[in-house]
């Protein structure tokens, strides 16, 4: 098995990890002030969540350049021409050619982190359920009726809506551009966020416009009610004030397209520059459910996914450009996410079906530049059921946001996410750098699986450099746990274990070795 050389990113200034096994506890004391009621998040920091609706094909967005032959075999009718993939400053990590603005403005500019293969155990393939899981930060088999952001905001602004707005927090706690249905902002008592249905309703609010109505008595009355509704939106005044005080300075926002992520981010930038204290925004881009015609038949760098990549790239680049020109970029971090990735193997309709883990981007001045995690492993032979196995739990990303960006204590983060999730070196504030983390990632590994492919049994050799509790598990391609072979403490060194494979259906399986902070996987093929 090849071992990739790990990234040597520009090391951010960090605090060394306290322990070897854990990711390190930050040694500065948690601020008592932050725990106080009604205090807003640290230093006016803003998080912009960019939802990619439909399930983004991560393998077509962040391309593993070291596995091109396997990639081509698995998805020959949609795979990008290797020479056209954007090379980046990170070895073997390429980007879709339409992401050039994003690459130049953010990744090359060392303001972006790519987190590989983000998912969760037992992935769900339903759009609705998977979205709810990402929004609520629940386990796959648990239903929560609040959102992770809703719980965060409820902590920061306790008692909302009673007593709000007030002089400490006169502004909306969260703004979503799009119908406010996502579970993400749902708090224990109420929805913590405010919805602006679409960019034009934002401008209607700001301009006192009732929008179009029929020229009938009904239309007359409708206009009256709409105007009154706008006026009585308790945040109308502060939004209008921020909209008039704020502005946009970037000329890079995309126009002339039905996709309006750019328009949405433009509004966010304007409100931030206008002094609105809202700490969380959610914007979205839809159309990612590319079951068919994902690419153009004659040129795989074009097509519906390419258009989405282009719009995403231009919108985020323009947004960052705007924030820099407006002088607020130090306070803002953005993050893309999607309810799932897509299958490794393409289908006959020149598309891909619902998948599991996928990469996501986190960007902003406060982000450690680089790639966290390895390229996903593409098997030599694939079936239509094979999925990108998870390297990181999406709640680790959330934990990193809450702890390292919004500066909550570990206890607070745990109460929001339900349990401890170790943070990743996404933000400069994190105790570890990507380099340290990469080093740390060598500490458990699957050294060898023999035989592979196998019939009745196979022996795995694995190593732990730090010792500790390890689990050895086998998953089917859809992410269902098939068998847990081991769950026990190991001391430093290499171990061997023979796995009984009788009774398993032929196909590719994922063998996972996990410690309390990470997991590594290999594909095991059963004949």
């Amino acid at each position: 098995m090849k071992r990739r050389s790990f990234i040597k990113a520009a090391a951010a200034s960090t605090v060394l990890p306290v322990s070897l096994n854990g990711m390190g506890v930050k040694s500065f004391q948690e601020s008592a002030l932050l725990a106080a009621l009604g205090k807003r998040s640290a230093d006016g920091k803003v998080l912009v969540l960019i939802q990619l609706n439909g399930g983004n094909d991560g393998l077509n967005m962040v391309i593993p350049l070291d596995q091109y032959s396997n990639l081509t075999k698995a998805r020959s009718n949609i795979v990008l021409n290797e020479s056209k993939v954007l090379k980046t400053w990170v070895d073997n990590v390429g980007l879709h050619p339409e992401l050039s603005e994003l690459n130049n403005k953010l990744f090359e500019a060392k303001k972006m982190s790519i987190v590989q293969s983000v998912g969760y155990p037992q992935p769900n393939f339903s759009h609705f359920r998977a979205t709810d899981i990402w929004m609520s930060a629940s386990d796959s088999n648990t239903v929560l009726t609040t959102g992770w952001m809703g719980r965060y905001l409820d902590k920061q602004y306790s008692g909302f809506p009673t007593g709000y707005p007030n002089s400490t927090m006169p502004d909306p706690l969260a703004i979503q551009i799009g119908p406010l249905v996502s579970l993400g902002f749902m708090g224990p008592n109420t929805n913590m966020g405010m919805a602006i249905t679409n960019p034009s309703s934002f401008y209607n609010l700001v301009d006192n416009n009732a929008g179009s109505v029929p020229s009938t008595p009904a239309g007359d009355e409708l206009a009256y009610i709409r105007l009154l509704a706008q006026q009585t939106n308790q945040y109308a005044t502060v939004i209008k004030a921020a909209a008039s005080k704020g502005t946009n300075k970037s000329t890079l926002y995309p126009t002339g397209t039905r996709m309006n992520l750019g328009e949405q981010l433009k509004i966010v930038a304007k409100l931030i520059s206008g002094g609105l204290k809202t700490p969380v925004y959610m914007v979205s881009l839809g159309g990612f459910d590319t079951h068919s015609a994902q690419v153009d038949g004659t040129d795989t760098t074009k097509g519906s996914h390419a258009d989405l990549m282009a719009h995403l790239s231009q919108s985020i680049a323009a947004f960052q450009d705007d924030l820099e020109l407006l002088g607020v970029s130090d306070r803002v971090a953005g993050m893309t996410f999607s309810e799932f990735g897509r299958r490794i193997q393409s289908n006959a309709s020149v598309g891909t079906d619902h998948g599991a883990a996928a990469p996501l981007f986190v960007f902003g001045d406060g982000v450690q530049p680089g790639v966290i995690g390895n390229n996903p492993r593409i098997p030599t032979t694939t079936t239509v059921n094979d999925n990108v196995p998870m390297q990181f739990d999406f709640r680790q990303v959330y934990a990193s946001v809450l702890k390292d960006w919004f500066e909550l204590s570990s206890a607070e983060v745990k109460s929001i996410l339900g349990t401890d999730f170790n943070t990743l070196p996404i933000f400069k504030n994190n105790a570890a750098s990507i380099e340290d983390f990469a080093d740390f990632m060598t500490q458990i590994s699957i050294a060898n699986i023999f035989p592979n492919p196998a019939m009745d049994q196979s022996t795995v050799q694995f190593r732990t450099d730090g010792g500790g509790r390890l689990k050895l598990r086998l998953y089917d391609p859809l992410g269902n746990l098939v068998h847990e072979y081991l769950d026990e403490e190991f001391s430093v060194g290499t171990q061997e274990y023979t796995m009984d494979l009788r009774g398993l259906k032929p196909g590719n399986y994922i063998l996972q070795l996990r410690s309390n902070v990470k997991s590594v996987t290999e594909v095991l093929q059963k004949l």
Binding site: L52, R129, P214, T216, Y224
Partner: protein
């Protein structure tokens, strides 16, 4: 022309400054923007009679309506539908009950029985007053496909009493009973009975009106508010008010009967002749003596007033503003008010023939007159409960049930309509105050509270002693025809909940709720099918996800301004 075509035509942008600064409701300003008018009259409507028309009719005449009610009425033709609304044989009027007995003992009336015929007890007055107010609010929930409850509100607004001012709860009930007995009966008799009602005698001081100390309050309101109005054709004089007051002297409340009743005290009656002005053709009402003097003179007074044509026109205008729109232009006056008033007079002031003509008229179904009434709070609050078929505590759980009614009544009140206690003897401003009229229901305070009520019952539910009153989205969704297809679901929900169509952007936003980012329709179908069928392996999660989606969809629809229209 179907409503879609009509409402799509000529969409214009109305400049907000124009609307906010100019006098709203002033017809000369409106006609600047709206050039099309209508001159339809009360000839029987001959156009399409379909779901749109049924919904339009029921939105104006029932509270809700519920899906089942719409379906029932769709089986009828126009005449049958209107006749059914005017038919009161299935409408039962039950008095308020002892709902307080478990916390406040009542030795005269057992828990669950009516207290209205029990002797007055000052200690029990507060709980009985509470009882009658909650009960009064609850009547809309029992409207049972009859226009009766709308008419009771119409008459309550026209002939107001403030229940909190009337110190006897039982008489508040009997006042309501007068409204009920004559709401679809004879207007002249209604006025007569209301003149003699103890609660009214109390509220407008009739009981204190004696020959030595005449009180003009009722005499004035009788003419100015209840029969003739204040229009240019209503020319009764101050002397007419004085004379009428003298006619009405002697009636007072008998505090010795159970319940308190009206009595006539001859020695308090002014027995002189009463001379009226040229507006009343200089009529003289002969002064009478004896025990029937009061009633005899009252009948003469009413006969005299009712010979004036303005009475019939005034009431018809009130009905128009209640059921159609608050603006009556000269065409409507000539083509609708005049002929309706004639029907009213020709039928000796029977109310039903007027309503029948109005509700079957081409004017009522004119596209111009659809969706233009801003729902009054009662239509909004009670209508919501009936649309969503909210389950309330059981009939026999009197305490809980009345608390549920109280909850509705409280929201009614904080959204500007304290049912049973109108702000003044003129009733609620929405039905008379130039220039805002109905728009006065929508304020920067009341509109957020309307939305708050909707969201609260949709998402959280209101607890009454452990019983949760909450919308069950599945109850309604399962009555739609094809709720598992997103376009059908949205179309049906919008048609059921809103009186106007939405444009493509609005519909797109709604679809985005069910299927974010353009994911294909079958995703909703699959989710729905799994949600309603427990044999699916993902049934449990699909049920919770789909419930959330439905709640979000319905919330979004009801948060639209269109939902406040009827």
């Amino acid at each position: 022309m179907n409503r879609r075509d009509f409402f799509r035509a000529k969409s214009i942008n109305i400049e907000s400054n124009h609307l906010m600064v100019d006098e709203l409701g002033d017809s000369s300003n409106t006609s600047k923007k709206i050039t099309r008018r209508t001159n339809t009259g009360i000839s029987k409507y001959q156009g399409t009679w379909g779901r749109d028309e049924v919904l339009h009719l029921l939105r104006r005449t029932l509270y809700g309506p519920s899906i089942a009610e719409v379906k029932d009425f769709e089986k009828l033709n126009l005449s049958q539908a209107v006749d059914k609304l005017l038919d009161t044989t299935n409408y039962t009027f039950e008095p308020p009950l002892n709902n307080y007995g478990q916390t406040t003992p009542d030795t005269q009336v057992s828990y669950g029985k009516t207290w209205v015929n029990a002797p007055f007890d000052a200690n029990l007055e507060p709980v009985r007053k509470n009882s009658v107010k909650s009960w009064f609010w609850s009547l809309a929930l029992k409207s049972n496909q009859s226009i009766m409850q709308k008419m009771m509100v119409f008459w309550h607004n026209h002939l107001p009493v403030q229940m909190l001012e009337v110190p006897v709860a039982a008489n508040c009930y009997f006042y309501s009973k007068v409204l009920n007995d004559y709401a679809l009966g004879n207007f002249k008799t209604l006025i007569r009975q209301m003149t003699l009602d103890p609660a009214m005698l109390y509220f407008l001081n009739g009981r204190l009106n004696t020959k030595d100390a005449p009180d003009e309050n009722y005499a004035r309101e009788l003419q100015e508010l209840f029969t003739l109005g204040k229009g240019p054709e209503s020319k009764f004089t101050e002397d007419d008010v004085k004379a009428a007051a003298r006619v009405l002297t002697g009636f007072t409340i008998n505090f010795t009967t159970t319940p308190f009743s009206t009595m006539f005290v001859s020695k308090n009656h002014d027995t002189g002749d009463k001379q009226f002005s040229s507006f009343y053709s200089n009529t003289v009402i002969k002064g009478r003596t004896g025990v029937s003097a009061g009633l005899d003179e009252l009948d003469d007074l009413l006969n005299m007033i009712f010979t004036v044509n303005e009475v019939s026109k005034y009431i018809c205008r009130r009905l128009y503003k209640f059921f159609i729109y608050y603006k009556i232009d000269s065409d409507a006056e000539a083509n609708v008010i005049e002929p309706l008033a004639k029907i009213f007079r020709d039928n000796d002031f029977e109310i039903k023939p007027v309503l029948k003509a109005l509700l079957e008229s081409e004017h009522f179904y004119d596209q111009w007159n659809r969706a233009c009434l801003i729902k009054d709070p009662y239509s909004h609050i009670a209508g919501f409960m009936r649309q969503w078929e909210l389950e309330l505590p059981a009939e026999t759980e009197y305490q809980k049930l009345y608390k549920a009614y109280g909850f509705g009544a409280a929201y009614n009140s904080i959204t500007q309509m304290n049912l049973g206690d109108p702000p003044s003897v003129s009733g609620w401003e929405a039905w008379y105050q130039v220039p805002l009229f109905h728009r006065s229901w929508i304020t920067s305070d009341s509109l957020p509270k309307r939305n708050e009520y909707q969201d609260y019952l949709l998402w959280i539910g209101h607890k009454v002693e452990g019983f949760t009153i909450k919308v069950d989205v599945w109850k309604i969704t399962k009555q739609f025809i094809k709720p598992n297809y997103p376009d059908d679901l949205i179309n049906e929900a919008v048609e059921f909940l809103l009186p106007m169509d939405l444009d493509t952007t609005q519909m797109g936003s709604l679809k985005d709720i069910l299927l974010p980012g353009g994911i294909p329709d079958y995703n909703w179908t699959d989710e729905y099918n799994a949600a309603v069928d427990s044999s699916y392996p993902n049934h449990a999660t699909a049920l919770s996800t789909a419930t959330l989606k439905l709640q979000s969809l319905y919330k979004a629809i009801m948060n639209l301004s269109e939902y406040q229209l009827s």
